[in-house]
Amino acid sequence: MKNQNINTNQDYKYGFTTDIESVKAPKGLSEKSIKFISKMKKEPDWMLKWRLKAFERLKNLKEPDWQKPKYPKIDYQDLYYYSAPKSASEKPKSLDEVDPKLLETYKKLGIPLQEQKKLSGVAVDAVFDSVSVATTYKEELTKKGIIFCSISEAIQKHPDLVKKYLGSVIPITDHYFATLNSAVFTDGSFVYIPPNVKCPMELSTYFRINASDTGQFERTLIIADKGSYVSYLEGCTAPMRDENQLHAANVELVALDDAEIKYSTVQNWYPGDKDGKGGIYNFVTKRGACRGKNSKISWTQVETGSAITWKYPSCILQGDNSVGEFYSIAITNNHQKADTGTKMIHLGKNTRSKIISKGISAGQADNTYRGLVDISRKASNSRNYTQCDSLLMGNKCGAHTVPYIKNKNFSSTVEHEATTSKINEEQLYYCNQRGLNQEEAVSLIVNGFCKEVLQQLPMEFAVEAQKLVGISLEGSVG
């Protein structure tokens, strides 16, 4: 009950009140702006020190440049690192002001009207907000002792847990974007599942209050204590309206003995227009550590949006008998570019990993699978199986596979398979014959191609994701 009170308070704190709107962060990346963020979030001193340490380190780091999709240089001094929620007056007043194309997509996905408003950023009256739904869920979670709140709240209320685990999987000494995030992250989710608790529902940012304004530097930390289980959903099948171009989130997962974490993402941010103008840069660092024996982390992702997607959800298999899984669908159309894959680092004995990646490329898009399987000397009897299939539509797009496979243990087995092909003409013809039009036929065939991954999604997501696959490829064939 106590927790619930806190949440009501917080709801107030971040509500659309005038005094927050007027707050302006100093522009650019500097010690001053980091101190400002920390102060705004009323963070304890250790957190500020941690951020500054990351910033110190950032000064000596260079932006990586080995990736396939190149992008114009980002001026980090030209960004705002803390933006207060938008005022109601700046938002579209009603759905009439929203891009009709967007609305059409909503319709195809079958999204209710109220939700459409929320997604397209129409100012919604507090009454329509999903607060009430969220609070019911909260109660049930609190009963089980599950902590599910924003990371800022966790820093205040559960400093011991945060101190212990934050940065333990993605240290502040990591690569450029991860370190940048450590210095300036604004908000994100925090989940703690106590020992031997099976989380009774799929957790989703959607149910967390204020989820829509977490900003471009999100930080998520999920800890599954011994013997626990949690399934976490991130994102949304509907296209999201977003003001920020660069997204550099960090997601850290920690699974202790016998724990299991299932993390599913559906990403459909603005991909830019048909000529490749605009669109989000999605540079996310996601990493999970199977710390305990028999632990398991499973990543599932459906990436259809963003101008550039550049992420490698990874598993560090430290505990003996731990399991890492990665299921991915990456669809790129028009001028979209994706460079995604995974890293499976086998450290413990009898560790197993499985990678299934499906890349679909249409229009002038480029789709790259890049992955690492590393079996260390001590990881006896480990196994990996990797399959990456690419589908090309048209001769202006590209599909690439760049797997790195390292095996240092003679009792371990690594297998990798990859194919590249186009949609079978005969299959298309067969579908057409049975009365499906070109687009329906493509959608059906592509869904079949992705089936292995779609099956891994939780029920709620799977149905929408299937529709999304079809919609993302509209106009690419025929």
Partner: protein, 417 residues
């Protein structure tokens, strides 16, 4: 961090009299090399074979080499009839074509001096441009098909020590010509040295080139060979790599398929034992439609050995109907063996058939068990299985006498296990 290995410009003076222009080009290349040093793992292509580290661990100083002594007697291959070319420390000594029409074959010491002075990503090319002074030039005339294979005896004399040898080869095949080459490396030196080769291969329309790369013995040499090939329409290339033996060996092959209906094959069977390091790196560029490429790399890695395969298939947007295949299989025999692979596809055309596979693991326990129940010792069982594993590649060689000869060579290597 290691200090970059520097090569003194006085090494260039050791090369035969040079004109000013050439000297300038060479100095420029050397300068570029000295800026970069040997390639290290910071470079993508050298990720798994950091020769900057390997060389600085094994060499204190490096010198160019001048032939001082004659090679010891050489065991020429008697198992099958062949033409031969004798190269000593990379320098053309003599050649004999008793089965051929000699007017159709042009052979001489390679001495092209038109090197580029570009800053190469691979600093070994700059180094080679700066210091190479030997090599082989071989050209086969249009419409001539050689009766017998040519064996190139690549002999390294036993006074080589801490030396750096650079040379360049060029092989040109005229239209409708055919050539088989066995490159047979015989190393008489018991010491460490570096042999850095750049090879240019040009296959004109309908030409066919088959090469076999073989090492005669275990040795302490450090070998690097960069083969750059250009293939015109309907040409055929096949390469068998059996280069186990040297302390370090990297074969870096890049082929441009420029004409339609080319067929490019690279196959290898390697047995990498104690402390040895072998890498095969390939890049097949499909630039026009209807070409085929096929790669099959099999490696067996024993105690503290390290095997690497980096392969890339590039398919240009117009190269429809490409058929490209890439397979790497590795067996690890010991706790300290290591195999790394990076089979890469970069594809811009949609109507293609491209696939690759890569596996690495131990010898199948069930198979060992089966053989042991039939009375073989564990060691014998493993040897038999390893032999079978590598023999799949040898089986693809058409000539029976050559096949037998290589089978024997591989068996000797495996028995060392």
């Amino acid at each position: 961090m290691n200090e970059n290995f520097k090569i003194s410009s006085s090494e260039i003076k050791k090369i035969k009299p040079l004109n000013q222009k050439e000297k300038k080009i060479r100095l420029e290349n050397l300068k570029l090399f000295n800026q970069q040093g040997f390639p290290s793992r910071n470079q993508e292509d050298w990720k798994f074979s950091d020769i900057n580290q390997i060389f600085s661990k094994n060499f204190k100083n490096l010198e160019s080499f001048k032939n001082k002594i004659k090679p010891k007697s050489i065991n020429f291959i008697k198992e099958f009839d062949h033409n031969h070319i004798l190269m000593v420390n990379g320098k053309l000594e003599n050649s004999e074509f008793k089965f051929e029409d000699k007017s159709k074959i042009k052979i001489k010491s390679y001495n092209d001096s038109n090197f580029s002075i570009n800053n190469e990503e691979n600093s070994l090319i700059n180094l080679n441009n700066a210091l190479s002074n030997n090599g082989l030039f071989l050209e086969v005339a249009n419409n001539y098909r050689l009766e017998k294979a040519i064996i190139i005896y690549n002999v390294f004399t036993d006074d080589l020590k801490d030396n750096l040898l650079n040379n360049k080869n060029k092989i040109i095949l005229g239209k409708n010509s055919e050539l088989h080459i066995v490159e047979y490396n015989i190393n008489q030196s018991k010491n460490k040295f570096i042999y850095n080769t750049i090879e240019n291969i040009i296959l004109n329309e309908n030409a066919s080139l088959k090469t076999i790369n073989l090492q005669a013995n275990q040795n302490e040499g450090f070998f690097y060979k960069f083969s750059k090939g250009k293939m015109k329409s309907n040409s055929y290339y096949s390469s068998f790599i059996f280069s186990s033996g040297p302390k370090f060996n990297k074969i870096d092959a890049e082929f441009d398929l420029e004409g339609e209906n080319c067929d490019c094959n690279i196959k290898s069977a390697l047995f990498i034992d104690k402390g040895k390091h072998q890498e095969i790196k390939t890049k097949i560029n499909h630039l026009v439609p209807n070409c085929k490429s096929y790669q099959k790399i099999k490696s067996v890695v024993d105690a503290e050995g390290k095997g690497v395969y980096q392969g890339k298939i590039y398919v240009k947007d117009i190269a429809q109907k490409t058929n490209a295949y890439q397979l790497s299989k590795a067996l690890l025999l010991s706790e300290n063996s290591e195999f790394n692979s990076k089979p890469e596809l970069e594809i811009y055309a949609d109507d293609v058939k491209c696939s690759h596979g890569s596996t690495s693991g131990s010898v199948d326990e069930n198979s060992i068990h089966y053989l042991m129940t039939r009375g073989l010792s564990k060691k014998q069982a493993v040897q038999l299985l390893v032999n079978g594993f590598l023999n799949e590649i040898i089986g693809d060689i058409k000539s029976n006498s050559v096949k037998k000869f290589i089978e024997n060579k591989i068996e000797i290597q495996i028995h060392g296990y």
